[in-house]
């Protein structure tokens, strides 16, 4: 048969088997698989951007011992179960890798361990819950010593004769005690799994076989969509607890993540951009978990009535207020809309969010954001994001001992990377502000001010005086409680344009309301 004919036959076989596999797995949202001739001969499949690619050469090789339908169905079952059960999402994948790396201390060994672990979980789940020819595939798969160990493990935990010899009985017995199907203990399970296969991985490393691919495919990050990657990093930043742990994992995959557009300042899907430090990415992704509201600038008062919004027209209501543009030229209850007018308020000056000057203390009494999770940087990052989301710009004044050169100023900008770079910079040393620095930020519309510090500022009195005279909306956030905080509160808490918040833990951040003005004390 000609090549074209063979390809047509294979395509129709793939379509038929894929239909059966999709039904079996309750129609997962995956693109139709395709054949790939470019894959390494020893690799059965690859998943990229939610599409399974099966290796034709591998299929042909396996078809000598098994019907091609069987091999294809088993491979698709395997690929789909990775998507529907384990790792399920990018966050879980990173968590499993992180734990394996913690035990094995080596990127390649950790990657291999997490790959095999996810294979065991996915295939065991598939074997337990579906009718699958996976045992037949594993009976004929072959591979290195680790693959033989996995074969012995499957034989033991599935109760099928897969032809595994007795030489790996001890290690497979130990591996069989891991509760693979208990999703809640996967991290604990991969810990145990990695410890057991550590000797085998070290032997592979010593013999130079560690980079030999897993025949059932390597779980690289290209299998996830860009949204899944972004969401996964966001969750991983939250669960990592501190920048060092995030940096260790993300740093290992810097190249892969850069290729996928994740380690760039321009954001997802906008090309590689300039490389982004893992610490900046940590605070960026962590800040995405919190949403702080910003009060918009209030409407101006006026004596006239102005159209404010639309309400449905009802029979009996005057026709003069009908808005023909939103009523489709019809006068009909439920379709026709009339203008609702509000007395005393106008759209002359539209509701908007002013720009914000973020003042962040990075003196020695504050936490170094690259070593530990800094609530100051996280709080300032959340505030900056809130203003950026509302189409405003953010200026940063990062200060420690200004007289000794400990300051960094960023003029109003909407570039997230520049803002985060300024926020994450750590000076250490003393704390002394220069008020004239803040003056350089002032704009006509009266920008908001966000101050985050532990208040242990040498010239705190000068700052208090300065803030007292400021008409702008000020949000002051203090980290911890001390004498200086009490002094600051006593002097400024009655000002209507100034709100004071305390952050003792991450959970305090969402309580912040930016640009809050207490109306009952009169407008400023």
């Amino acid at each position: 048969m000609s090549n074209d004919g063979q390809n047509r036959d294979f395509d129709s076989l793939l379509r038929r088997i894929w239909g059966e596999v999709r039904k079996k797995h309750f129609y997962p949202e995956l693109a139709r698989p395709q054949a790939d001739d470019q894959l390494d001969d020893s690799v059965a499949l690859e998943i990229k951007s939610k599409r399974i690619a099966v290796n034709r050469a591998f299929l042909d090789e396996m078809s000598r011992n098994l019907p091609m339908e069987t091999v294809l169905e088993a491979l698709l079952d395997h690929g789909v179960t990775h998507y529907t059960y384990c790792p399920w999402d990018f966050h879980t994948h990173l968590q499993l890798y992180q734990e394996a790396k913690r035990i094995l201390g080596d990127k390649d060994m950790a990657q291999k361990s997490s790959d095999y672990f996810m294979d065991v979980v996915a295939d065991t789940h598939c074997y337990k819950t579906k009718d699958t020819p996976l045992p037949e595939l594993y009976r004929n798969l072959g591979g290195g010593e680790l693959d033989q160990v996995m074969q012995a493990l499957y034989q033991r935990i599935w109760g099928e004769d897969l032809g595994a010899g007795a030489e790996h009985e001890e290690v497979s017995r130990k591996l069989s005690r891991v509760p693979y199907l208990d999703r809640g203990s996967w991290v604990e399970s991969i810990n145990r799994f990695s410890k057991i296969i550590q000797v085998l991985l070290e032997a592979e490393r010593d013999s130079g076989e560690l980079d030999k691919p897993n025949p059932m495919g390597q779980s690289d990050f290209s299998r996830y969509s860009s949204e899944e990657l972004s969401e996964g990093l966001k969750e991983f930043a939250m669960s990592s607890g501190e920048p060092g742990r995030f940096r260790e994992v993300v740093g290992d995959f810097e190249e892969e993540l850069s290729d996928l557009g994740l380690m760039s300042s321009s954001g997802m899907g906008e090309g590689a951009g300039s490389p982004l430090d893992a610490d900046l990415l940590y605070y960026m992704k962590l800040a995405e978990n919190y949403s702080i509201p910003v009060r918009k600038t209030p409407l101006e008062k006026s004596g006239d009535q102005y159209p404010y919004g639309h309400t449905p027209w009802e029979a009996g209501k005057p026709y003069r207020d009908i808005d023909p543009w939103t009523s489709f030229g019809k006068i009909m209850p439920g379709v026709t809309q009339i203008w609702e007018r509000r007395e005393g308020e106008t759209h002359g000056e539209e509701e908007s969010t002013p720009n914000c000057i973020v003042m962040i203390d990075s003196s020695g009494s504050m936490v170094n954001p690259k070593q530990y999770l800094s609530y100051a940087v996280l709080g300032a990052a959340c505030a900056s994001d809130a203003y950026l989301r509302n189409s405003a710009s953010v200026g940063v004044y990062n200060f420690s001992d200004v007289e000794a050169g400990g300051r960094r100023l960023l003029d109003f900008s909407r570039k997230r990377r520049d803002i985060y770079e300024s926020l994450c910079h750590y000076f250490g040393g003393g704390t002394r502000l220069d008020m004239t620095d803040i003056e350089t930020f002032r704009d006509e519309k009266g920008s908001d001010v966000f101050l985050i510090t532990d208040m242990q500022i040498t010239n705190l009195e000068t700052l208090i005086e300065y803030l007292s005279s400021m008409p702008n909306r000020i949000t002051a956030v203090h980290i911890g409680e001390n004498e200086h905080v009490r002094r600051f509160k006593t002097r400024l808490q009655k000002r209507s344009n100034l709100s004071i918040y305390s952050i003792q833990k991450k959970e305090d951040i969402p309580r912040i309301v930016l640009g809050k003005v207490r109306e009952y004390l009169g407008r400023v």
């Binding site: 039904k23 035990i103 819950t129 033991r156 599935w158 109760g159 810990n191």
Partner: protein
């Protein structure tokens, strides 16, 4: 357009099958529950007086009670290692007293069917005392990670290897056998030692008193009996090596 839900008109939901893994995990959980229950009973007895003092009679009593409990259990070295991790996590075990916990683990090791036991303890946040207590002849116990005080106390012919550091009173009162500590040991190493060998790869903070036999090596060098005591091997005051 084809409505995929039509496919399910004739669909039979497939109950997930029971596989050997389910039985293995179930049996493992049951064993762990029994081991934990045994430990809780022992610690309830031991905790009555609030303070757990290291007294010879008390240790002997606790060990006898532990042996009585574990002799009816069916477990292996993996169960012992997992029990150590459970002790460390403290989720299922409300209180941990390092002494009785170590004695209980020693009883588990001494009663295990396997002649060679290998426990990976390097990840534990706490250290247990009395590991390797009375390790009998024919048994070999390898402890990965650093361990607490009184390691290999009363060793009775077994081989105990610590792939890390051991605390004070290592090999106290050991009768015969061998203790190998890859890194350092604390004060009173080999106190009341009657026989056997202690090999320390790093520093020995201090040799114990009243040693009546046995040999202590530090990095291939004999530190007990030292040259002046050689031949008598009776008593020696605390020394710093």
């Amino acid at each position: 357009m084809h409505n995929p839900f039509c496919d399910f008109q004739s669909y039979q939901y497939k109950q997930s099958r029971e596989i050997p893994l389910d039985r293995i995990i179930q049996s493992k959980r049951k064993t762990m529950e029994e081991i934990i229950e045994g430990y809780l009973k022992l610690s309830e007895k031991e905790v009555k007086e609030m303070v757990w003092l290291v007294e010879h009679s008390r240790i002997v009593k606790a060990y006898s009670a532990a042996m009585e409990t574990v002799k009816n259990l069916d477990y292996d070295s993996d169960d012992i290692e997992e029990f150590c991790h459970e002790l460390d996590k403290g989720g299922k075990i409300p209180y941990l007293i390092s002494g009785p916990a170590g004695i209980y683990v020693s009883a588990l090791c001494n009663n295990a069917k396997e002649p060679e036991l290998h426990l990976k303890l390097f990840e534990l946040k706490r250290t247990f005392h009395f590991l390797g207590y009375r390790l009998p002849e024919g048994k070999s116990l390898v402890l990965e990670g650093s361990v607490g005080d009184f390691i290999g106390t009363g060793l009775s012919g077994g081989r105990l290897v610590v792939e890390g550091s051991a605390g004070n009173w290592t090999g106290a009162g050991m009768v015969k056998g061998e203790i190998v500590v890859r890194e350092h040991t604390g004060q009173n190493t080999g106190e009341w030692m009657k026989g056997g060998v202690i090999r320390v790869g790093g520093h020995i903070r201090g040799i114990g008193k009243s040693l009546s036999g046995g040999t202590i090596y530090q990095r291939e060098r004999t530190v007990f009996p030292d040259e002046k005591d050689a031949g008598s091997a009776s008593t020696s005051g605390p020394t710093t090596a």
